[in-house]
């Protein structure tokens, strides 16, 4: 069945192809056909999207999402996670392997992929574990994981503390060409810590996690990367020291990419307030100085991607003593608004913001999409950059509500999400079909 869509007179921002201006975008059979400065004639039976005053951008790609299935379906499922994704303008997500059962073998990978096919909303790319059961002891079968469809290998949620094992994993990965994605945390330095170590942790009497817990591991892994010639992707980078090391490694030509979460760009450790567990995450919210360094790093290209680390948790996981609170917040449905805050604040240009959500992540993991040249997948997000709205966690499509941004005013919102030329989200409603919320 042939389907044709014409996005008319939107501001097309396609950083990879150097486009930023009013264009028509013609899409047919799931692919981009033409991007034209001059108005295009409306083909017969085409659906026309009047994008006047809107941004027409490549669908967002999130390198770091927890879909919780299999094992913790009360927090999220592949289906509810995909709904949250498309509601947030994401057309592709990378699913972390720290599910219960762990995605450390091809059968779990296939399960996630089959759930994603059934959900039929956005692309889901599983990531497989580095070590069996995420235990940090034995390497998982990376070859099987990759052939089953994993696009990256990671023990996310945990570091690989054994340096020799990490070195082998990097070496071994080179035969498959996949990136090794790392959660950088020296557990001996972070042990017992509940938030960033600084004046706020001292005031609140909470054991701190020093920045060195992350930076020391970044340093170690960059050394191992240099020896092995692998591809390394640093998840949720949170501090100035890490940024400095990444910058230097890139200057020397190492194949390192990285991501920063919207919350680490917007909030600092003071957001913990009086023990708000919604501000508890790993890595912790850092100092204002770290936030400034991260902002510079996404603006100047040191960091390739904004990734949400979407981490759904139940109410009871957060309604406890701060030290007992589980780490993480949901992020898919707030990512664009928070990123646009940085645009409104002059930290990022619109083009750079879009690049961090599209081409940057696509390139880091060698994923399709992330741009709108003819032949590219017709994964398209339409944004109203002027709409003002207020984050309401109760209206999230995600099954979980754990966010510190409930009630935050935002300017700029996703109005439509298209995956493979098919409209999957429009004006607050996830499609297709008539599924009620």
């Amino acid at each position: 069945m042939s389907s044709t869509v014409l996005f008319r007179r939107g501001r097309v921002i396609d950083p990879r192809n150097g486009v930023d201006g009013v264009r028509d975008v013609l899409v047919r059979d799931g692919k981009v056909v033409e991007v034209s400065e001059a108005p295009l004639p409306v083909p017969a039976s085409a659906e026309v999207v009047d994008a006047n005053g809107k941004w027409v951008v490549p669908g967002f790609i999130d390198l770091h999402v927890h879909l919780r299935e299999p094992g913790e379906e009360g927090k999220e499922t592949v289906l509810t996670g995909c709904r949250a994704a498309v509601a947030g303008g994401f057309t592709a997500v990378v699913a972390m392997p720290n599910t219960k059962v762990v995605n450390d073998n091809g059968m779990v990978t296939e399960l996630v992929l089959s759930r994603a096919r059934a959900a039929n909303l956005c692309h889901v790319y599983p990531a497989g574990a580095i070590t069996k059961g995420l235990k940090g002891e034995e390497m998982a079968e990376m070859g099987e994981l990759v052939s089953a469809g994993c696009v990256a290998i990671t023990d996310d949620g945990r570091p690989v503390m054994n340096a020799a094992l990490m070195r082998r994993a990097l070496q071994y990965s080179t035969q498959f060409g996949v990136p090794i994605m790392v959660h950088e945390e020296d557990l001996t330095l972070s042990a017992g810590g509940a938030m960033h170590e600084g004046a706020t942790s001292t005031r609140l009497g909470l054991r701190g996690i020093p920045a060195s817990a992350e930076v020391a591991m970044v340093a170690r892994d960059l050394v191992l990367l240099e020896e092995t010639g692998a591809r390394l992707h640093l998840a949720h980078v949170s501090c100035e020291g890490s940024v400095r090391l990444i910058r230097e490694a890139k200057r020397r030509g190492l194949r390192v990419t990285s991501e920063v979460t919207p919350h680490h760009l917007i909030l600092d450790d003071r957001a913990v307030g009086d023990y708000d567990t919604h501000a508890k995450m790993a890595p912790p919210l850092r100092s204002d100085r770290d936030v400034q360094a991260l902002r510079e790093a996404i603006a100047d290209g040191t960091v390739e991607a904004i990734a949400t680390d979407h981490a759904p948790h139940g109410v009871l996981d957060k309604l406890v003593e701060f030290e007992k609170g589980i780490n993480g917040i949901v992020g898919l449905e707030t990512a664009l608004g928070l990123t646009l805050e940085l645009v409104h604040a002059g930290v990022l240009t619109a083009t750079r913001a879009v690049e961090l959500l599209t081409h940057g992540p696509a390139q880091a993991f060698s994923l399709p999409g992330g741009h709108l040249a003819p032949g590219a997948p017709a994964d398209v997000t339409v944004v109203d950059p002027t709409e003002e709205w207020t984050v309401d966690a109760h209206r999230f499509y995600s099954r979980s509500r754990n966010t510190p941004f409930h009630g935050r005013k935002q300017k700029g919102r996703v109005v439509q999400t298209w995956v493979g030329g098919r409209k999957v989200f429009e004006n607050g409603q996830v499609g297709p079909g008539k599924e009620s919320r």
Binding site: T200, L204, Y275, F322, E323
Partner: protein, 297 residues
């Protein structure tokens, strides 16, 4: 009704008023047995305590309240009940005030957001211990009249001490200069931002102090390598007889207890002429009466 979650958030005049109230509750003062008559004070202790729990108990009884004592041992917490469920269940039995001790910093703040009765923090993790700070300030004020311009040296494991945090805030608010002294591994960052001066040299700080407040060295810290040994700690930071001699004339020695005799403080100093340790304990009841009065009314 208001909570006492910490010294943070209280103004100087409010603290002074509270200490003035405590004055009226000293032994031999007019009878106050009717102030909380018919009311219930629930003591919720998730962590061991002798003197604080007893002190609040005596204070509540002295005001005519009924006291309910709850301890974690043998409670439903061991069956997996959450803190909030425990607190809500206690609340449902009808207390006016919950006095609460917990090993997690911020636990009373969480409870205060979800119950209607007043919460008094009787020590939360390594955060605050406001009633201790108030009784310490009361003891010093009793001796000096005013804390303005006085220097108080707080000595020992600052990092893990809720007494140190509350005292720093309280003493500063009341006009004193506060010097914190201990090994660098037990000094968290940002203490200066809370108004403290920080030193690692006891011998240089000691002669300036009008009061030295020793903290209990938590021996369990040894296994975490905060310190090489208690012996070395004692040599560098122990308040011994030789050091006592170099103290200012009239300067006092304090300790919130329990004491590791011979580690952070020599027995002769703890029991010596400068020591106000037992005054602290008896003042504690009067100060806690004042706290209950303010929070329950």
């Amino acid at each position: 009704m208001r909570h006492l979650l910490g010294i943070e958030g209280w103004r100087r005049d409010e603290l002074e008023a509270l200490l003035d109230r405590a004055q009226a509750h000293l032994p031999g003062r007019p009878d106050a047995t009717n102030i909380l008559r018919g009311k219930v004070v629930a003591n919720l202790f998730f962590e061991d305590s002798t003197r604080t729990r007893t002190s609040f108990h005596m204070a509540a009884k002295g005001l005519g309240a009924s006291v309910m004592n709850w301890t974690q041992t043998g409670s439903s917490v061991s069956k997996g009940e959450t803190l909030l469920d425990t607190a809500r269940n206690i609340e449902a039995t009808g207390p006016t005030v919950i006095v609460m001790r917990h090993r997690s910093s911020g636990a009373p703040h969480l409870v205060a957001k979800h119950v209607r009765c007043a919460i008094i923090n009787a020590g939360d993790g390594t955060h605050e211990h406001p009633s201790q700070a108030l009784l310490d300030a009361f003891t010093l004020r009793q001796r000096w009249g005013s804390l303005d311009g006085r220097t108080v040296l707080i000595l020992g494991d600052i990092m893990h001490s809720r007494v140190a945090r509350s005292n720093l805030l309280c003493l500063r608010a009341l006009g004193a200069r506060v010097v914190l002294c201990g090994p660098p591994t037990l000094m968290p960052p940002g203490l200066e931002a809370m108004g403290a001066e920080v030193t690692h040299s006891l011998d240089s700080a000691l002669p300036q102090a009008d009061a030295v407040m020793c903290l209990r060295l938590q021996l369990e810290r040894m296994s975490e390598n905060f310190l090489p040994s208690t012996r070395e700690y004692s040599r560098l930071f122990g308040l011994n007889a030789a050091r006592e001699e170099r103290m200012k004339e009239g300067a006092v020695v304090m300790h919130p207890g329990p004491i590791n005799r011979g580690v952070e403080i020599a027995p002769s100093v703890a029991d010596g002429a400068r020591s106000v340790i037992l005054e602290q304990v008896s003042n504690g009841v009067a100060v806690r009466r004042a706290i209950l009065e303010v929070c329950a009314s």
